[in-house]
């Protein structure tokens, strides 16, 4: 499986994603420049976190016009995988590859800390490695991943929200350590504690937390690897 990590001007988690894929998981990984127009040689495209174009105008609002995004759309239309992390998620929303929009955090402050996530659906290419965790605990699996964002307050209209839920497209929600989606466990005020969603076809996934920051023991959690291992269909 070949990964392409896109660099937009202002991306700053590009090296972190590359590091995990290339050096922790030893997978074939390239950087993809935002002016590139062809991503056909990759199986999975990673839109990394950061402040593409300085977050000017709106988060992700300028990056969606980068030449590479047309190629990423075609890639997604073919059913190939796309994962957008943090600013990458924001770009996917702006590009229309996922529904909804981001508001500023309810606190109006940037927030960086570890959070707990409840995995809502393990029947996707991004969460399938967690399938077995369900059986063991008898409840939804939990992940411990860091967030770091100023605009992660996910919002979507009522009809679409209903669809998202009916279709099990909400893959992760902020929760407490008991798996309860409480207001206190929500770091940004997002609707129904939503932390990440996928499209109907289940090949495009966007999430605010950073799996690449929780993929080595000494960083405090290796739960992020479960997402990358799902993509690789490894357990």
């Amino acid at each position: 499986m070949k990964f392409g990590v896109v660099i937009f001007p202002g991306s700053n988690c590009d090296h972190d994603c590359y590091h995990v894929l290339k050096h922790v998981l030893n997978k074939d990984t390239d950087f993809v420049w935002h002016k590139d127009k062809d991503v056909s040689k990759y199986d999975c495209i990673v839109l990394p976190g950061g402040f593409s174009y300085g977050d000017y105008l709106r988060t992700g609002a300028i990056a969606r016009f980068s030449p590479v995004m047309d190629a990423v759309k075609k890639h997604a239309d073919k059913g190939k995988l796309v994962i957008g992390i943090c600013n990458g998620f924001q770009i996917l929303l702006e590009a229309g590859l996922l529904p909804g929009a981001m508001l500023r955090n309810a606190s109006l402050k940037f927030v960086c800390k570890f959070v707990t996530l409840r995995v809502e659906n393990t029947d996707t290419p991004f969460t399938r490695a967690l399938r077995n965790d369900v059986g063991a605990t008898g409840r939804s699996p939990l992940l411990r991943l860091p967030v770091a964002h100023g605009e992660g307050n996910y919002f979507v209209d009522g009809a679409t929200l209903k669809d998202l839920n009916a279709d099990h497209q909400v893959l992760v929600r902020y929760s407490d350590e008991a798996g309860q989606t409480t207001p206190e466990s929500n770091p940004n005020g997002s609707l129904e504690n939503i932390a990440g969603i996928c499209n109907k076809a289940r090949n495009v996934f966007g999430l605010m937390p950073h799996p690449e920051r929780a993929s080595e023991e000494e960083l405090g959690s290796v739960d992020g690897l479960k997402i990358f291992r799902s993509i690789l269909n490894e357990n």
Binding site: C112, A148, E212
Partner: protein, 754 residues
């Protein structure tokens, strides 16, 4: 402000530039004639304290700069460079942005971060760590809340966007900073040894490029602004505060590092204080050459700017790059890749002159070397401050008993200076680049150097109350505490950078504080073998507002900040595992290293519970501290340390509390017995005796660890055990950890959200 280019240079104009008549005479000698207005402006910024260190140089000579790991020494370049082995080097520095932050906290702090990062990456090192030392008035004052909110948001705005983790630092609250907060920004970069570049203009005919943002009128004369007292008038100087664009700096950072790898760069310097003026004359001075530019090529974002304004602007995110002739197109490809604006504005000459033209007509012509290096050096008058006679006499026992010790501990944990800083660091991205192995809140910040078994530990420290009560001892302690913090994480201290924040140096009492602090730093650095790799002096930290309760009859003294020599220590863990400050497992044995003495002078205990800032601060024995640092590193190397946390503000009781709470908020209790009949209960629990560390050891390693401590003849006491849900100290203190944690973690947030 409209600059009349034909203005006559009258004594009034000279005075308005902060140039003395003596300095003016020197300028005329250097030029062999009278300066015009542009030249006077250029001299005034280069010879400001901020750029020339004219009042401090003579004292800075005291600081030790030599060491076997020092590759670039203090003062030679933008930042010092230290060898960490296996082909890797680090460049690091701390710098103040106090005055801008006092006037406009968000942009002042943001551009402080931007400036220090540029200093690092222009040396060819990729910045991988930011930290900061912040000081404000009492947090219950609305103005302090406003400043803290703005400064923290500004630091986050810049650091989060550019993608350099802000992983630690320190924050103090004290009335001496009311109206004159301190914002000291630290950055550290990593490079391969061969990647380090110099900021020199060499090779006659080589083209000089201007790279980055266009020049505007923002930050006009900021270096001069930073070299005088803050006053009511300072509010009108708001245009002297620059505006930051971290996205632009991110592009510059990537483009510059890519450009430096090509080998087509001769020299490079960022345009920081004194902007285009400083970068041109300093690169020429270092290269032993001259430089000629024409301001018509300088990208400008405002119309009608005259050469005086273009040369003195401190617009942010600009660089001066000197390329090898013939390799311009290679460089231009990189500039274009990153969508950066670059213009050739001049070339290197061999006449030793900094020549500024406007449309081909010379508007300033100054010998570069004397301008950059020959500012006058002053030896200032000094005098021991009068207040010390009173404070030295003060007996801490005279305040009487504190009463309920549990309540006293909780009150200390509620002091914003001691409380958890999570309200602040949750606003900083402290994990980007995935090297952060110790989350903020431990004794030192620790990052992994990818691809190696090395870790870097760093800490910023200064207890300014100690420095106020005894500048020499206080500065020694600042160095010792930073070294101890780094050693608590298992690292060998390597080198320091410092940011020396003081009041007005023309006041002999302030200057005495300054010299005594420098002597303290010198002695501690010599003892620990940690040379000074660089730093910054910030004078004129005098408040906008008069303090409510002046501790001295000298009016000027009363309005100055407490002497604040902030020390940034960097240490190396070379192949073993880092240590954090919190207890890990039930039944681990708690050992107190060091001796507790009857030392409550200058303590946070006196300040918080009795409102007293007086007495003799703790004494520091450099020999004992050196031994302690070696011991901690030896214990860490063997893997014996489950945790290590030094006793600082709030003493043993606060140190134990902090060890009971992990960086993630997990809690575990401890039962301690440290009885000592000779000490007052207050000194035992809350005294701030130096060279003490609380460590915990797994029972299986206890014997070996004790043998090691005894072989080094360091005083210690097996004090208790980890476990349970409460912190119990002798029969004196017993509080559930959950209660301690709630108070400690919510103290700042509670004040800020109301």
């Amino acid at each position: 402000m409209k600059i009349d280019m034909d203005i006559e240079i009258t004594p009034d104009v000279i005075a308005k530039h902060g140039v003395t008549s003596g300095e003016y005479g020197r300028i005329k000698t250097i030029l062999g004639r009278s300066p015009n207005i542009t030249e006077l402006g250029i001299f005034s910024v280069m010879w400001s304290e901020h750029c020339s260190y004219k009042n401090s140089k003579n004292v800075l000579k005291l600081l030790p700069k030599d060491g076997k790991r020092m590759l670039v020494k203090a003062g030679e370049e933008n930042a010092g460079v230290v060898d960490i082995g296996d082909g890797y080097v680090i460049a690091f520095k701390v710098e103040s942005h106090n005055h801008p932050s006092a006037i406009e906290p968000f942009q002042g702090a943001a551009t402080g971060v931007g400036g220090i990062l540029r200093d690092i990456f222009t040396m060819g090192a990729r910045p991988i760590v930011s930290m900061n030392s912040l000081r404000f008035g009492k947090l219950d004052e609305p103005v302090s809340k406003r400043l803290l909110t703005g400064v923290v948001a500004g630091i986050g705005f810049y650091g989060n966007c550019i993608g350099v983790p802000t992983i630690g630092g320190e924050i103090y609250f004290d009335e001496s900073y009311e109206g004159n907060p301190l914002v000291n920004a630290f950055a550290l970069g990593l490079a391969k040894k061969e990647e380090i570049v110099k900021a020199a203009a060499r090779g006659t005919g080589n083209p000089v490029f201007y790279l980055g943002s266009a020049t505007g009128r923002d930050g006009m004369g900021g270096a001069s602004f930073a070299s005088k007292d803050l006053s009511e008038e300072s509010e009108k100087d708001r245009p002297a505060v620059q505006v930051g664009d971290p996205f632009m700096e991110k592009l510059l950072l990537e483009a510059v590092l890519e450009l430096l790898k090509t080998g087509c760069v001769v020299g490079i310097q960022d345009m920081g204080a004194a902007g285009l003026t400083c970068s041109t004359c300093e690169t020429a001075s270092r290269g032993g050459t001259g430089i000629e530019i024409d301001v018509k090529h300088v990208p400008q974002r405002e119309t009608g700017m005259v050469p005086y304004e273009i040369m003195l602007s401190e617009s942010q995110e600009r660089m001066l790059v000197i390329l090898k002739k013939g390799r311009e197109s290679e460089a231009k490809r990189i500039f274009e890749k990153w969508d950066l604006h670059a213009e050739e504005i001049g070339h290197v000459t061999d006449d030793g002159l900094m020549r500024v033209k406007e449309n081909g007509v010379t508007v300033a012509e100054i010998p570069a070397k004397p301008l950059a290096d020959d500012a006058p050096i002053y030896i200032r008058e000094e005098k021991e401050p009068g207040y010390l006679r009173e404070t030295r006499k003060f007996n801490p026992r005279s305040v009487g008993s504190v009463g309920d010790l549990n309540a006293a501990l909780l009150k200390l944990l509620d002091s914003p200076t001691i409380a958890s800083k999570e309200w602040v660091y949750h606003q900083y991205d402290h994990m980007v680049r995935t090297n952060t192995v110790a989350l903020p809140g431990s004794d030192a910040s620790v990052i992994h150097v990818k691809g190696t078994k090395k870790y870097l530990a760093m800490s910023l420290d200064c207890n300014s109350t100690y420095c106020y009560l005894d500048p020499y001892e206080g500065a020694k302690i600042a160095v010792a505490e930073s070294a101890r913090n780094v050693a608590c994480s298992g690292a060998e201290p390597l080198s320091i950078t410092n940011c020396l924040n003081f009041g007005n140096p023309m006041n002999p009492e302030i200057f005495w504080q300054f010299r005594r602090c420098a002597e303290g730093i010198r002695d501690a650095c010599l003892a620990f073998g940690t040379p000074v790799s660089g730093g910054n002096v910030s004078f004129y930290n005098q408040s906008l507002r008069r303090r409510t309760n002046p501790p001295s009859s000298v009016a000027d003294q009363a309005r100055a900040i407490d002497p604040t020599p902030v020390i940034g220590m960097v240490g190396l863990i070379d192949g073993w595992k880092p240590v954090t400050s919190h207890f890990k497992d039930e039944n681990d044995v708690i050992i107190l290293l060091g001796e507790t003495k009857e030392e409550l002078g200058g303590s946070e205990f006196l300040k918080t519970l009795f409102g007293v800032k007086s007495g003799l601060p703790p004494r520091l024995d450099l020999e004992a501290e050196t031994k302690l640092i070696k011991l901690l590193v030896a214990l860490a190397k063997k893997g014996f340390l489950r945790s290590a946390h030094d006793c600082s503000e709030g003493g043993l009781a606060v140190a134990l509390t902090e060890s009971c709470i992990s960086q993630d908020g997990d809690e575990i209790g401890a039962v301690i017995d440290v009885g000592d009949d000779e000490l007052s209960t207050e000194a035992l629990l809350f005294g701030e005796s130096q060279s003490r560390v609380v460590i915990s050891i797994s029972p299986k390693d206890l014997k070996a660890a004790q043998d090691m401590i005894e072989s080094m003849a360091y005083p210690y006491r097996v004090a208790g055990k980890v476990g349970g849900t409460a912190l119990e100290i002798n029969a004196l203190v017993r509080v559930p950890v959950g209660v301690l944690k709630h108070t400690w973690r919510s103290a700042i947030g509670r004040r800020m959200e109301t």
